[in-house]
Symmetry: C2
Subunit: 203 residues, 2 copies
Amino acid sequence: MNLNEKTARRDLIVRAAANVFAEKGFNNTLMVDIARTAGIGKGTIYEYFRSKDDLFLAVFDYFVQKLNESSVTVTTLALDSAADRLDALSRSIAAWVIRHRDIYTLTLEFWAASVTGSAEMREKLKMAFQDIYRKFRLLCASIINDGIGRGEFRAGIDSEAIASAIVGSWDGLCLQSWFEDDFDIEKTIAAYTDTLLRGLLTA
Amino acid sequence: MNLNEKTARRDLIVRAAANVFAEKGFNNTLMVDIARTAGIGKGTIYEYFRSKDDLFLAVFDYFVQKLNESSVTVTTLALDSAADRLDALSRSIAAWVIRHRDIYTLTLEFWAASVTGSAEMREKLKMAFQDIYRKFRLLCASIINDGIGRGEFRAGIDSEAIASAIVGSWDGLCLQSWFEDDFDIEKTIAAYTDTLLRGLLTA
DNA sequence: ATAATATCCGACCAGCCAGTCGGAAAATGA
DNA sequence: TCATTTTCCGACTGGCTGGTCGGATATTAT
């Protein structure tokens, strides 16, 4: 079995695990469930992963990788006005969330595990989430700062605070959409971004 | 043992359970941990609660009750301008979150359980969260609509979308503060509310 | 073709823990 | 004081499941 086959099999297990974890949660998932979903024997999983924790963290890495891949398209997007870029970013996030709606329930598991997982798990998840949030805040803040520099947005805006709130609203709206079946994330984010931008623009 | 004593003992157990669940999470919490924290025997818990699930739901009810008690102070607060009321509401939420920082990690457990708990648990938590979010959105939306009615805010604002985003940002900022140690929620919400209000006000 | 190696597998085991239960202890009543 | 009822408790158990291991199967090498 060459390296490609090995990697492919590993990926197969990770994807199967992602589905089962998303559906049942970490603690209610049996290793044998994952094996069955992947169409392999339970023992085989342990050829690729040390433990259930280890596999869960691999699923997390897979999730982070997906997230990073998608956001690239936006950061490289060069629109002229800061307002347009902020708007494009928001829309892109909304679209991503909707495209990955099923995987999204995993996030709840990751959040919970960052509080109540094993020491190693907490450590790793907490660091990773810090990175993710910092990165998105930085992205928003730099667009806002750029807007201020161009005289497009008011001076004296606390760009970091606004960036935090924007990123926070993404999480918060996803949560609400989880609880409310007919919740239109895209429409909501669009309307919200429009109003927030008015507050940012120079009068 | 009269009714008061009975209720007091039940509360003792619920509070102990809340602490242990918050620290260790539902699945890593042992009934004997809760008993020890409450200073009673494990068997005694089962005199007051049918099961671990049952106790967890009681903790959730306790949490919801605390939340409802606190928000009353704001809704009865009668300020003249809609902007001031929205600002006061945001500050009040920020203050509540900070005062209950320790209990807040419980929310992550409740969210997770609403996805991966037992059928009965999912049902109950999902309904309850729907109610909570609806209530807060309604509160925000009514203030915004009032502002529009008075000519204080621009006409044509999608008040429900803005309300969703405001409520969402509360959750999202709490999450970020969990991951980032030196995160100033109050300052962030204040700066954010200020900017958002500028976007709402008539030009 | 046959040996040697790599991969796969699932029956099994050991540890864990929610919930039980029978008796101790405390409260109540007579 | 003693009987009766209520409350408390923690040792025990039954079911569950992560991880192991030895043999089965597939692949590669000679």
